[in-house]
């Protein structure tokens, strides 16, 4: 049987060769599905059945995985699949108007496949290009930056003429690093191997002590002490230990890991290799978010360079028994996989549902082996600690938050990009440096972080004051903070894994209320319900995604209440529907619009 995505013929993929390349390992299911889809555009049911049989899984299990990830398609999609990054910062740069314009030019509705099957246009969660948006992701492989009206017009023509994406103007694919302020981590990267040699020279116990002395805390958001995590993992019994680099940079507004993986990839892997030495790991994974698929080839080349230089593979740096190698696992569009236990489930080829904890990954992680999962930036920091020692690192920043932190600055400012500061830096300082004026609010740490208003700009970036995973989105006084929060509410509902009741239903209920307010049907009762949902989600969700899903809502209601009250129709109850509006279809059908075709207005 041949698979035909309407409008474009795909060659029947060689599933056997693909499966053989992955040794028919059911734990490689996500990678197998991703590559299969890259060959044939989407994932037809009979292909899934073939994969299931070969891997010894049930069809329903494979379907369950295929339907979990946002980038997998179990229905035909356009031969050109165009996704608009839909973070608030893209919207502020005009992405919605561009989407509408592109859809009009191509004669396709958002979220639908064009009648001829050539193209589909949709929105997707932030693609990590907030400093150079509006950004597009085409066919889950190509990233396009700084889109504008002329580019969209030309893009529509290219699609209509079926010009392959590789032949589109090269400057559309340019991704800038935009390093605006460098400190330790964003300075010239150390030469490959130097920090690793230094770590080996220190010895395992002494290097672990340096890590602990540095008081480095994880950069992914939770802030767990890195040295302690690595020590706990080393002490955990297991026939194998695993190092995982969490490069699933999904928090909207964050893009620092993209730059680290572009310009400092050697440093990241060197940090992983040091960690492997310390915990006794032979295998490592980089969990690269699907949106960063375009970095894959360069990363593979870098890994090979390091193998050739004896910095990876067997007998690293000539030391017998020090064997460690790294595989890159590419995600498929699931924010929840940034949560470490969901990430591990995904690495194992399953749905990215967070696990019950304890046991924690350091005790039982990938396939039950003791596993450390650390952020990209954390591994970079470890390299500098290996080079210069824990005492040097801990002298930077504040006593509770040592070292530096990289911020992904975007939104209403003159110079978006990466800014690295020691911990303890004032919010106001960052705003001055990036050229932000008339600033109303800053969302620090992304939607799951905290929204600060102008009277809080004297506060400082630190675990003990304003913690952050790296996003720093600036909003000037022209922005409607209610709309910002509504965008984030849609994000969380879209990204909920659906496992636990409060997150699955609660995030959808929040969206309904916010949309009701936006449509002008809100009352004070709706705001009370939103508060109630915030409290419930904080107390009862299975993981941090659900728990933080209402953070932007809570902050913006508390700090920007007038933005909400502008949307209230009455201070009392208002139904979510408008009886008269419900009759509009009947009026359309009967061609009537006279007073008799409307409900009497109650006054």
């Amino acid at each position: 049987m041949t698979h035909v995505a309407r409008g474009l013929d795909y060659v029947k993929p060689d599933i056997d060769a693909l499966l053989a390349r992955f040794n028919r390992d059911p734990h490689a299911l996500v990678q197998i599905l991703r590559e299969l889809q890259a060959q044939q555009g989407w994932l037809p049911r009979d292909s899934l059945a073939e994969v299931a049989t070969a891997l010894g899984l049930s069809l329903a299990q494979v379907q369950g995985v295929a339907s979990f990830y946002r980038f997998f398609h179990t229905q035909p999609v356009g031969a050109y699949r165009i996704l608009f990054s839909d973070n608030v910062t893209d919207r502020m740069l005009g992405s919605e108007a561009l989407l509408v314009d592109l859809c009009r030019r191509l004669g396709v509705a958002p979220g639908r496949v064009a009648a001829d099957g050539v193209v589909s246009v949709e929105r997707t969660s932030c693609t990590g290009l907030g400093d150079q948006g509006p950004a597009l992701l085409v066919n889950h492989h190509h990233v396009l930056t700084q889109m504008d009206a002329p580019r969209i017009a030309l893009l529509a023509t290219l699609v209509r003429q079926r010009v392959p994406v590789a032949q589109w103007p090269a400057d559309w694919f340019a991704v800038q690093d935009q390093i605006r302020r460098a400190d330790v981590l964003l300075a010239e990267p150390p030469l490959p191997g130097v920090a690793l040699s230094a770590a080996l020279a220190r010895g395992v116990a002494a290097m672990l002590a340096e890590m602990q002395h540095s008081n480095l805390r994880g950069r992914g958001g939770a802030g767990f002490a890195t040295g302690l995590k690595w020590s706990l993992c080393r002490q955990s019994a297991g026939s194998e230990h695993i190092v995982v680099c969490n490069a699933d940079e999904g928090e909207p507004g964050t893009f620092k890991d993209r730059v680290l993986l572009t310009r400092y990839a050697d440093t990241v892997v060197e940090g992983m290799t040091i960690a492997a030495h310390l915990i006794g790991a032979r295998r490592g994974f980089i969990y690269l978010r699907g949106e960063y698929r375009y970095l894959l080839d360069a990363l593979q080349l870098m890994l090979q360079r390091r193998r050739d230089a004896q910095l990876l593979g067997h007998a690293i740096l000539g030391r017998p028994g020090f064997d460690f190698d790294i595989q890159i696992h590419v995600g498929a569009g699931a924010y929840v996989c940034g949560e470490e236990s969901a990430l591990i489930e995904s690495l194992e080829g399953k749905r990215g549902t967070p696990r019950i904890r304890p046991p924690f990954p350091v005790q039982s992680g990938y396939l039950g082996y003791p596993t450390i999962v650390n952020n990209v930036e954390t591994f970079c920091a470890a390299v500098h600690i290996a080079l210069r020692g824990g005492a040097w690192w801990s002298a930077i920043g504040t006593p509770k938050s040592t070292g530096t932190k990289i911020h992904s600055v975007s939104g209403d400012c003159e110079r978006p990009g990466l800014y690295e500061y020691p911990f303890g830096t004032r919010i106001g300082r960052i705003l001055e440096d990036c050229g932000a004026h008339d600033t109303q609010a800053v969302q620090v740490g992304g939607p799951s972080g905290v929204c600060l208003s102008a009277f809080e700009f004297g506060r400082r970036i630190a675990f003990e004051d304003v913690p952050t995973a790296g996003a720093f989105m600036v909003f000037n006084r022209s922005r409607d903070m209610f709309e910002v929060a509504r965008g984030f509410a849609h994000f969380f509902a879209h990204e909920s894994c659906g496992f636990c009741t409060p997150c699955r239903v609660g995030t959808a209920l929040v969206v309904k209320r916010m949309d009701k307010l936006a449509a002008g049907h809100g009352s004070r009762h709706d705001i009370d319900v939103l508060f109630e949902l915030d409290k419930l989600l904080h107390a009862t969700t299975h993981c941090g995604l659900g728990a933080s899903a209402c953070n932007p809502l809570r902050d913006t209601i508390a700090k920007f209440r007038p933005a909400y009250e502008r949307h209230l129709k009455s201070l009392y109850f208002e139904p979510a529907f408008d009886l008269d509006a419900e009759l509009s279809i009947a009026r359309q059908m009967t061609g009537r619009d006279d007073p008799g075709a409307h409900l009497e207005k109650l006054t």
């Binding site: 049911r45 059945a49 049930s58 069809l59 329903a60 299990q61 379907q63 369950g64 339907s67 979990f68 990830y69 946002r70 699931a334 749905r351 019950i356 509902a493 879209h494 990204e495 909920s496 894994c497 659906g498 496992f499 636990c500 009741t501 409060p502 699955r504 239903v505 609660g506 995030t507 959808a508 209920l509 309904k512 319900v529 109630e532 419930l536 107390a539 009862t540 969700t541 299975h542 979510a576």
Partner: protein, 236 residues
């Protein structure tokens, strides 16, 4: 050496436990009721429904997943926690299509019984009214997905007890749903049998036996006679 009996405090009363017990297991063992839906004494904890959320030393946690240790201070039957449970139940009611008066499971339904127990009187939230066709393809069993609460008990029972893997979970977010393992996606094309554990495990009215309707009149069924909180004894 005689083992010292270990205990923790549940709502101010000492509760003994066996080594390895979760809070919910320990409570069930002595006949104390902690509301729950996705937990079943014969299966490993799942932690998805969140109904059993209690406060352990002041912090919220799912009673089905937390291991009992000596000296824990656990709150469960409090106004605050029961109000939370009611909201979670209301979420489940509005998410699916639950019309108790016409449901064959009425009176035997854990969702309904727990809602009565928590004093739920209405949906509170707006209904989603999802469109979920039923699956009547099997000769002996009917699947009415409208009532699914995604507890995965059928998934687990079919996989772990029956060794068949008839069910799985698909989708994500509010679109998460139960999948049937066959090329057609229909139950009639699986090897599911009436005697399977999965056929009788559903706590709500999704998996129903055909031609068995209303054998016991409504009003005389399991939870009609004794509320769910009074039926804990003997489960473990």
């Amino acid at each position: 050496m005689r083992e010292v009996e270990q205990s923790f405090s549940l709502d101010g009363e000492d509760l003994p436990f066996q080594l390895g017990d979760t809070l919910l297991q320990a409570a069930t063992r002595v006949g104390r009721y902690i509301p729950h839906l996705c937990w079943h004494p014969d299966f490993a904890p799942h932690g998805s429904c969140s109904i059993c959320t209690v406060k352990v030393n002041g912090r919220p946690a799912a009673a089905c997943t937390v291991r009992a240790t000596s000296g824990l201070d656990v709150e469960s039957h409090t106004d605050e926690l029961n109000a939370q449970r009611k909201l979670l139940l209301q979420m489940l009611f509005v998410e699916g299509n639950h019309f108790c008066p016409s449901c064959e499971k009425s009176g035997n339904c854990l969702l309904q019984a727990t809602a009565y127990q928590m004093g739920m009187e209405g949906p509170h939230f707006e209904e989603f009214y999802p469109d979920r066709p039923v699956d009547a393809s099997h000769p002996d069993l009917l699947l009415d997905f409208n009532r699914c609460i995604l507890c995965e008990l059928c998934v687990r029972a079919s996989r772990e007890v029956d060794g068949k893997g008839v069910f799985a979970i698909g989708g994500h977010g509010i679109g998460t749903h139960l999948l049937v393992n066959s090329l057609s996606g229909q139950l009639g094309d699986t090897d599911m049998a009436l005697g399977d554990r999965a056929a009788s495990i559903c706590p709500v009215g999704v998996i129903l036996t055909k031609r068995q309707g209303f054998a016991v009149p409504i009003g005389e069924r399991r939870f009609d006679l004794v509320p769910v909180s009074g039926q804990v004894e003997g489960q473990l």
